[in-house]
């Protein structure tokens, strides 16, 4: 739905006005809503504002004199995939493409920590094709913990079986999909 007033931006503010018992509906964009006085400036505080606030927060700048070079260069970081700069990313609070994750990687951990209560590493599903030998690696880690456990329990026969499975898995990882690492 377009804004009723400017017809340019999408309507994001939806109001029902009651004047002398007559109800009318207003659908306008945030800009026109402010212009028309439907909304005060500070009311328009969206999740995006919160997020971009987080992105712009830079620890190094709070230490005097440590307005480091890396900070400056980070600001000018530009994604080769889509052309999005870090500054633009911080403004809109959204990534432009998959490559942005690599380009801005250094700066992302603090953001993810805040948004995902301290987590920075994926621990869920791995896609079948795109995941490559990640499945095998995950399986390998599971085998290794099992092996450790069996050795502690002194169940050596079972442990030997697991060890063989680790060997064949290892081969698969290194020969089957060689060069992935």
């Amino acid at each position: 739905m377009d804004c009723q007033r400017c017809h340019k931006r999408p309507a994001t503010v939806h109001l029902t006005q009651v004047i002398n018992g007559e109800k009318t509906e207003v659908h306008v964009c945030a800009y026109c809503a402010k212009e028309q006085g439907y909304m005060s400036d500070n009311q328009d505080f969206t999740l995006n504002d919160l997020l971009s606030g987080l992105f712009n927060y830079d620890k190094s700048s709070s230490y005097k004199g440590k307005q480091s070079k890396s900070y400056q260069s980070n600001k000018q970081l530009k994604c080769p995939g889509c052309g999005l700069t870090y500054q633009e990313f911080a403004q809109i609070g959204k990534f432009g493409c998959a490559d942005c994750y690599k380009t801005f990687d250094e700066r992302l951990n603090p953001i993810f920590r805040r948004v995902h209560s301290g987590n920075i590493k994926h621990d869920g599903k791995i896609p079948k094709r795109e995941g490559g030998n990640l499945h095998l690696k995950k399986q390998m880690n599971e085998y290794k913990t099992q092996l450790q456990h069996l050795i502690e329990q002194e169940e050596f026969e079972e442990a030997a079986k697991i060890r063989d499975q680790i060997r064949s898995l290892d081969e698969q990882i290194h020969h089957g999909q060689g060069g992935e690492e």
Binding site: M1, P10, A11, T12, T16, E22, K23, T24, E25, L47, L51, G81, C82, G83, L84, I92, G93, K94, F95, G96, C97, A98, Y101, K102, L108, I111, F112, V115, H116, S117, G118, N119, I120, K121, H122, D123, G124, K125, I126, P127, K128, R129, E130, G131, L134
Partner: protein, 356 residues
């Protein structure tokens, strides 16, 4: 034609089945956000690139079926009237975001309306799957299979450390939002829900109104969903949500019992007054309608009223939304005209039950 079915029927076919704990949990939903590896995300994408993705889905998936989800229909946003889009939002088949960015965007909807795969939303792909009642595990299992089915042909944007890459940092990792729609009249009446909300938030879950972010809990319907998507597996996220929902169900049942015990007559009075309003009013606003429908549904659950089906709340909550009323009236209506329509539609619907 099925677009007509999507738009004309207030209740989706899957809603007609009664799921577990359906006296309190109306529906369970899993949403997965996925993106193509080599395409810019819709937010900054050129129109040509978005069109390529849309064409790909039209060619590969239109009319296809997967398991119980038959004959995916490609509903292109550009080809819909604004009232039709509104109806699809009211049925939760598409997101408001999709209607605001209609160019090159679409949704693939299965015949039973259980699955909607949104194309070029905030992410390239948003898989959405509903189950009636409290069935998060089943919903996750099926959504994951649908995801595998799409992955056969789509090169997903995935990173070993960050997981599924999404446009918004709040979705990265699993890309999953699991949510449950609950009717909690007793917890709302006794104001326990407002006291419980902060505690639920601390566990990384969010409580919202029926139409998502920023919406009121119209008709005492609350949506509980996970906030965190990174660093936890899909199963763990669903398990956490499951255990909180389970507790909310227990608390709601206890609160209902306590209300019945302490103020049974008052509760009965409230239910029948609301029933009276619904049955006889000539003008009714959506807020009042929602409140009365919630009371009516509670009355059915508590056994005060036994000739009306439970799904009346789900059905009339959708049917009395502005989009549906206008679709039904086949013309656009001013808000006060809608209030009149709404009242007459509810009266007609309840009359139908009396005759049977």
């Amino acid at each position: 034609m099925s677009l007509q079915q999507f738009i004309n029927e207030a209740i989706s076919p899957w809603m007609k089945e009664e799921g577990p704990d359906s006296d309190i949990v109306m529906s369970s939903r899993i949403r997965l956000a996925r993106n193509f590896q080599n395409y810019p995300f819709p937010i900054i994408s050129s129109e040509e690139r978005m069109e390529e993705i849309l064409q790909f889905f039209k060619e590969e998936y239109a009319g296809k079926s997967f398991r119980d989800y038959h004959h995916f229909e490609v509903v292109e946003m550009d080809k819909l009237q604004s009232v039709e889009k509104r109806v699809l939002v009211e049925k939760h088949l598409i997101s408001p975001h999709l209607t605001e960015h209609s160019k090159h965007s679409a949704s693939l909807i299965s015949q039973n309306e259980q699955v909607s795969i949104m194309i070029n939303e905030e992410d390239h792909i948003r898989i959405q799957l509903y189950f009636p009642g409290f069935q998060l595990d089943r919903a996750l299992e099926q959504a994951s299979q649908l995801d595998d089915w799409l992955e056969e042909k789509v090169d997903y944007a995935f990173d070993e450390n960050r997981g599924y890459l999404t446009a918004c940092p709040t979705n990265v990792g699993t890309g999953m939002r699991a949510s449950v729609m609950m009717h909690l009249p007793a917890l709302a009446m006794t104001q326990q829900i407002t006291r419980m909300t902060p505690a639920i938030n601390q566990l990384g879950l969010v409580v919202r109104g029926i139409f998502g972010e920023g919406s009121d809990a119209l008709g005492n319907i609350f949506q509980i969903s996970n906030q965190i998507t990174l660093g936890k597996s899909e199963e763990d996220i669903v398990e956490d949500l499951h255990s909180i929902v389970k507790q909310l169900i227990d608390q709601e049942r206890k609160a209902r019992q306590a209300l019945m015990h302490r103020s049974g007559v008052q509760l009965e009075d409230r239910v029948f007054r609301s029933y009276g309003v619904l049955k006889h009013s000539r003008i009714i606003e959506s807020k009042e309608a929602a409140k009365c429908l919630s009371d009516l549904r509670l009355g059915i659950d508590l056994g005060f009223i036994d000739h009306i089906p439970k799904t009346i709340l789900n059905e009339l909550m959708v049917l009395t939304q502005p989009g549906f009323l206008q679709q039904y009236a086949k013309e656009s209506l001013s808000p006060s005209e809608r209030d009149v329509r709404r009242a007459s539609l509810i009266r007609e619907r309840l009359q139908l039950e009396n005759k049977e």
